[in-house]
Symmetry: C2
Subunit: 611 residues, 2 copies
C-alpha cells in the first residue's frame, strides 16, 4: 500500500503501529507509575500556595499569616481523601474511577454527573497546568511573557503527539522532570529551613498592602477553596490501576501513599517558607519563582527549580492525557459517547480522546489567554464533586456487600464523602461569580448530551435488530434493475462508465438533455456511430435545467416502469490538480446532491483520470 | 418532485422558472434601456465633483475655482468618447464590448486585457456606487453613519436577488429612481441658476483652507483624473445592444446620445453651482447634499434629492449586474472562464456571474469599510484601459474593412483612443500610490488565470477526443467483476446492501474484520443463519485497523485474482437528524476516502434510512 503524505506525517510523529500481541507488556513499575500519575497532584503545589495568598492579600499583609493554618487544613483533608481512596483501590482493582464507582452503587444519574465533572476537569487540568508551566518559564525569562499563549499551544501540541505514541514511552520521558522537581523543591525547602533554624535568615515582613476587603470567614473559606487546587489529581492513581504491574491494587495503594506524603511535605514547606520570606504574589512572577530566588539567589539552582517546575507542570497535563481518553472509552462502551471513542488506535492508545482533549484545552488557553488565575475558579469544582460522588458510592458499596469490617470501612468513606461534599459546596459558593458558574452550566449539558446519545443508539438498535424478523422477508431477488447513464457529449471519458453500466445491468439507458437543438442531431449521430446496444434518450428541458429532466426520468423509471432499483452512473473527470476541479463536474456534483437521498436510487461515480 | 427548503427559498426570492420560448420578449424600450444602462454613468455625477474638489482643496480655497475648467475638459473628453463609441454601436450590432472589439481586431492578449480590466471595474462599480449611495443616505441621517457597512451589504444582497429574477422586471423597478434623480438634479440646478442670475443669491467664498500642497500641474492632473470617474459607465450601452428593441443599433445610439447630454449637463451644473455656493468637501456630508441643502434648505426637496441620489447610485450597480455576467458568459464560451458561467439559469439570467459579482463587491465593501474615497483610486483605471483598447481596435477594424469613409471613421476612433490612452496614463501615474497599483497587479493575474483555464480545457479536449480512436478498442466486455461488501455486524441495515450486491454481480463476497476474537464465532454463526449463497471472509487485523485489511483484500482481488473491476458496496446509515451523523458511519467515511481514487475500484454507498 502506497503511503500518502498524511500517513507519512502520522508515522513520523506517532510511530509505527504496535500489534495486539504487545498489549500486555504496556504495564508500569511503581516508579514510572508515580511519575505518570502523580505529576498532576505534585505539580499543584506550584500554584496552590499562590492562589491562597492572592485571596488573603485582599485583607492586607497581616492576613497572609493565615496561609499556614489553611494549608494544614488542606493537608488534613488530603489525608482523609487518601484513606478513603485507598479503600476504593482495593475494592475496584480493575480501575475505580468516580464514574464506575458512582454508577455501580448510586445509579446512572450519579455516574453521569461524575463523568461530566471529570471530563471537564481533565480538560481544565491540561489548560491550568500548561498555563502555570509557561508562567514558571516567563517568571525566569520575562521577555517571553508576550508569547505565553503561543508557548502554551506549542506545549499542548507536543503533549498530544507524545500521547498518541503510547503510554510506555510517555512514562520514560515523564519520569525525569517529575523527579527533578521533587529533588529541586526539597533542596529548596531544606536549605530554607536550615537557614531559618540556623538563624542565618530571619523572617521578612512584607510592607503594608492596601486592604481591599475585611478579613471575614467568607474570605478565609475562599482562600481555603483556592488552596484546595493542591489536591487536584489525587484521584488519578485509582483510575489507572490496570496499568500497574502485578499485584496491581497493592502497588497502586503504595504509589498513592508515597504521592500523598511528598505532596503534603512540599505544599506545607512552600507555604511555610513563603510566609517567612515575606512573599506576596505579583502579576509577573510566580510565588515559587520568588521563593527560589530568595533562597538561592538567581543562581543555577534557581533556574533548575524553574525548569523542573515548568517540566512537571506541562507533564502534569499528561495525567489527563491518560485519564480523559480512558474515561471517554468507558463512556463510549456504555454508549454515552460516540462509538469512535471506544476503540484503540494502532499504537494501543485511544487516539480520538487524545485529539479531542488537545483541541479543547487549546481552545481554553486561547479563550482565557493562558491566565492561570482566570482558569482556577473553573477548576476543582468538578474534582471535588467527583470525589464526593465516588466516596458516597463507596459507602453504598460497603452497605450492600455487608462483609466483615463493613461498618468501619463505610465510616471511613462517609467521612471522606462528607468532607469533600462540604468543600464542594464551599468551593461553589465562594468561587461562583469568579467562574465556577460556567461549570455549573456545563455539567448538566454534558449529562444531557450523554443521555441523548445513548437514547439514539438504543433506538437504532431496536430499528436494526434481526430478532423476530423472518429471514425470507429480507431478500426479494430477483429485482428489476435499470441502469441510467446521463451524458453531456460523446468523448473518451464516457466509455469506462458505459462498460461499468453494462457490467452491472442488462437494462442500460443513456440520457442526454437537450439544451441546444443544434447539438442533438450531432450527438445522436455520434452515439450510433460509437455505441452499440445501449439506447440514447434525449430529454427536453424547457427551463434550461440539466438536473430536473434527469430527475424526472429517473423517478418515472422507478415509479411508472416499477423498477425496484435504479442505478445512476455519473461519469466524472478527475483532474491532475485540485484547482482544476472548479472547471469540471459541476453538473455531476449537483446531480449527485439531488439524487443522494432518493429512495431506491443508487448513485455511482465512475472516474476518468485526466493527466 | 417535492421541493426542499433551498428550492423553496430560491423560488420565493427569485421567482418561478421562465421557459426558453419567452426569451425573445425580454427586450427593452429606449426609455427602459436608458434607465437600465445609464444609471451607472449618470449617478457618477454624485461623486465626481466631490473627488475633484477633494484634490484641489489640498492647494487651498483659491484652487477650488479650477474645478470649472477641469469639468469642461472632462466633458470634452466625454464627447470624444461618445463619437467614438457611436461608431462601435453601428459596427457591432450584436454587442460591441471592449473584449470583443479588442479581441477581434487586436488579438487575444488585447482582448483578455480588456476583459480583465472590465471585470475588475464591474466589481468596483458595484462597490463604489453602493458606498456612495449609502453616503447620500447618511448625509441626510448622520445617525446611520455607524451602520454604513451593514447598509451597503444589505443593498448588495437586494440587488443580487433582484437580478437573479431577470432583467425585464429590473428595468421596470429601475426606471423610477433614475428619472427621479434626473428631475431632482435639474430642478436644483434650475433654481440655483435662477437665483444666481436673478441676484437673489450671491457667490459665497469659502473661508481659508490650510494649504497642504502647492498648486502644480501634477495636482491639476490628479484632480482631472479624479473627475474622470464621471465618465465611468458610458460603455454600458455598447455592451448591451442585443437587448434593445429593433432597430437595435439605432435605438442604442440614440440612447447613448441622450445619456451623454444629460450627464454633461448635470456634471457641469453641479460643479458650477458648487463653486458659487462655496462648497468644500467634508468627511460627514457629500457635496451634493451640501449643495441641495444650500439651494433648498433642509426641505422636502432636499430629502427628495438625497433619496433619489441614493436610489440611482444603488441601482447604478445594476449596470454591472447586467454586464459582468454577460461578459463572464462570453469568456466562458471562449473557455477563458469555467464552463458554468456560460449557461443561463432558469430565469434567463446568468446566475453564476450574478452571484460571484455580489460576493466580490460585498468583500470590497468590507475590506474598504464602505469608503468611496478609498475605492475611487482603484476605479476608472480599468474603464479607461478598456476604452483605449476598444477604440484602438476600432481603428484597426476600419483599416481592415477599408469601406468608403474608412479614413474619417478611423480618424475619429484614433482621436478617441489617443485621448483615453493619455487619460489612462495620467490616471495610473497620479493615482498609483493611492491604490491604482492594486489594479496594475490584479489585471495581469486575471489574464494569467484566463490563459491557464483555456490551456486546461484545450488539454482535456485532446485527452478525451474520439478522433482517431478505434471503436472496438473502447469496450472490452465481458469484464471480470467482483462485488465486495464489508460488514461490521449482522443487522437489518445490511440486507438492502446485500440485495444490491447480488443484483449487480455474481461474484459477491462479504468481509468482516476481526477486532475481537470473541465476536468472530457469533458473526459467522449469525451469517450462515441469515444469509445464503454469499461467502463471509474474516480478515485478521493485528494493528486493530478496520480500513487496512479491507484495502489489502480489495487490492488482492484486483491485482492477484485479476478482476477487471471491484465494486465495494458500503452500507451506510442515514440518521433522522444531522447531528446523529457524528454517531455513525465513521468507518464508512474513512473507507470511502481510502478507496475513492483507487484504479478499477468503484465505491457505492447503499443507504439505510433510520427513523
Amino acid at each position: 500500500m502506497d503511503e500518502n503524505i498524511f500517513q507519512l506525517t502520522k508515522r513520523t510523529l506517532v510511530g509505527t503501529p504496535i500489534p495486539n500481541s504487545e498489549a500486555s507488556h504496556q504495564r508500569l513499575s511503581k516508579k514510572k507509575a508515580l511519575a505518570t500519575f502523580s505529576s498532576d497532584a505534585l505539580s499543584s503545589v506550584a500554584y496552590a500556595t499562590e492562589e491562597i495568598l492572592m485571596v488573603l492579600m485582599l485583607a492586607g499583609a497581616a492576613a497572609l499569616q493565615y496561609s499556614i493554618p489553611i494549608s494544614l487544613a488542606i493537608i488534613t483533608l488530603l489525608v482523609v481523601v487518601y484513606i478513603s481512596y485507598r479503600q476504593t483501590i482495593y475494592a475496584y482493582p480493575s480501575g475505580g474511577g468516580a464514574y464506575i464507582v458512582a454508577r455501580e452503587n448510586l445509579g446512572e444519574w450519579a455516574g453521569l454527573t461524575a463523568a461530566a465533572a471529570l471530563l471537564t476537569d481533565y480538560v481544565l487540568t491540561v489548560a491550568v497546568s500548561v498555563a502555570a508551566g509557561i508562567a514558571a518559564l516567563t517568571s525566569a525569562f520575562p521577555s517571553l511573557e508576550y508569547h505565553n499563549v503561543l508557548l502554551c499551544l506549542v506545549s499542548i501540541f507536543a503533549l498530544t503527539v507524545m500521547n498518541l505514541r503510547g503510554i510506555k514511552e510517555s512514562a520514560t520521558i515523564f519520569a525525569l522532570p517529575t523527579y527533578a522537581f521533587i529533588i529541586g523543591v526539597f533542596a529548596m525547602l531544606g536549605l530554607g529551613s536550615y537557614e531559618l533554624a540556623n538563624g542565618t535568615f530571619t523572617h521578612i515582613v512584607p510592607s503594608t498592602l492596601a486592604i481591599q476587603k475585611p478579613l471575614t470567614v467568607f474570605l478565609l473559606l475562599r482562600a481555603f477553596s483556592s488552596g484546595c487546587t493542591a489536591m487536584t489529581g489525587v484521584e488519578a492513581v485509582s483510575n489507572g490501576i490496570p496499568v500497574f504491574q502485578h499485584p496491581e491494587s497493592r502497588n497502586a495503594a503504595i504509589t498513592l501513599l508515597v504521592m500523598v506524603f511528598i505532596l503534603s511535605g512540599m505544599f506545607f514547606g512552600i507555604t511555610f517558607l513563603s510566609h517567612y520570606h515575606g512573599i506576596v504574589p505579583t502579576e509577573s512572577e510566580t510565588v515559587i519563582s520568588q521563593l527560589a530566588r530568595s533562597v538561592f539567589g538567581t543562581s543555577r539552582m534557581y533556574y533548575f527549580i524553574q525548569f523542573s517546575t515548568m517540566g512537571i507542570l506541562i507533564l502534569a497535563a499528561n495525567t489527563s492525557y491518560a485519564d480523559f481518553p480512558r474515561l471517554s472509552s468507558i463512556l463510549a462502551q456504555d454508549r454515552f459517547l460516540p462509538r469512535q471513542f471506544a476503540s484503540q488506535g494502532d499504537r494501543l492508545v485511544f487516539s480520538n480522546g487524545i485529539l479531542i482533549l488537545g483541541a479543547l484545552s487549546g481552545l481554553l488557553i486561547i479563550l482565557f489567554q493562558a491566565s492561570t488565575h482566570a482558569l482556577i475558579p473553573l477548576y476543582a469544582v468538578g474534582v471535588f464533586l467527583s470525589f464526593t460522588l465516588s466516596q458516597t458510592g463507596m459507602v453504598k458499596h460497603w452497605l450492600i456487600e455487608h462483609k466483615p469490617g463493613w461498618l468501619g470501612r463505610s465510616a471511613i468513606n462517609a467521612t471522606g464523602a462528607l468532607a469533600t461534599g462540604v468543600v464542594t459546596l464551599v468551593f461553589t459558593i465562594t468561587k461562583f461569580s469568579h467562574g465556577a458558574w460556567i461549570i455549573i452550566i456545563i455539567i448538566p449539558l454534558f449529562i444531557y448530551g450523554f443521555r441523548i446519545i445513548k437514547a439514539h443508539y438504543i433506538d437504532v438498535g431496536k430499528q436494526i435488530t434481526l430478532a423476530g424478523v423472518d429471514a425470507k422477508a429480507l431478500i426479494h431477488s430477483p429485482v428489476k434493475h435499470a441502469v441510467v447513464l446521463p451524458i453531456s457529449g460523446i468523448h473518451r471519458g464516457l466509455f469506462d462508465a458505459l462498460e461499468y453500466a453494462r457490467t452491472i445491468g442488462v437494462d442500460v439507458r443513456a440520457l442526454y438533455v437537450e439544451l441546444d437543438a443544434e447539438q442533438v442531431d450531432w450527438v445522436q449521430r455520434e452515439w450510433s456511430k460509437w455505441v452499440k446496444g445501449v439506447p440514447l434518450f434525449v430529454l427536453k428541458s424547457p427551463y434550461r435545467s440539466v438536473i430536473s429532466p434527469i430527475l424526472k426520468y429517473i423517478e418515472d423509471v422507478r415509479d411508472v416502469e416499477h423498477c425496484d432499483i435504479v442505478t445512476v452512473i455519473i461519469p466524472e473527470f478527475v483532474p491532475a490538480s485540485w484547482w482544476q476541479n472548479l472547471l469540471h463536474n459541476q453538473t455531476a456534483f449537483l446531480l449527485r446532491a439531488a439524487l443522494t437521498f432518493k429512495k431506491n436510487v443508487v448513485v455511482t461515480s465512475i472516474r476518468y483520470h485526466l493527466k
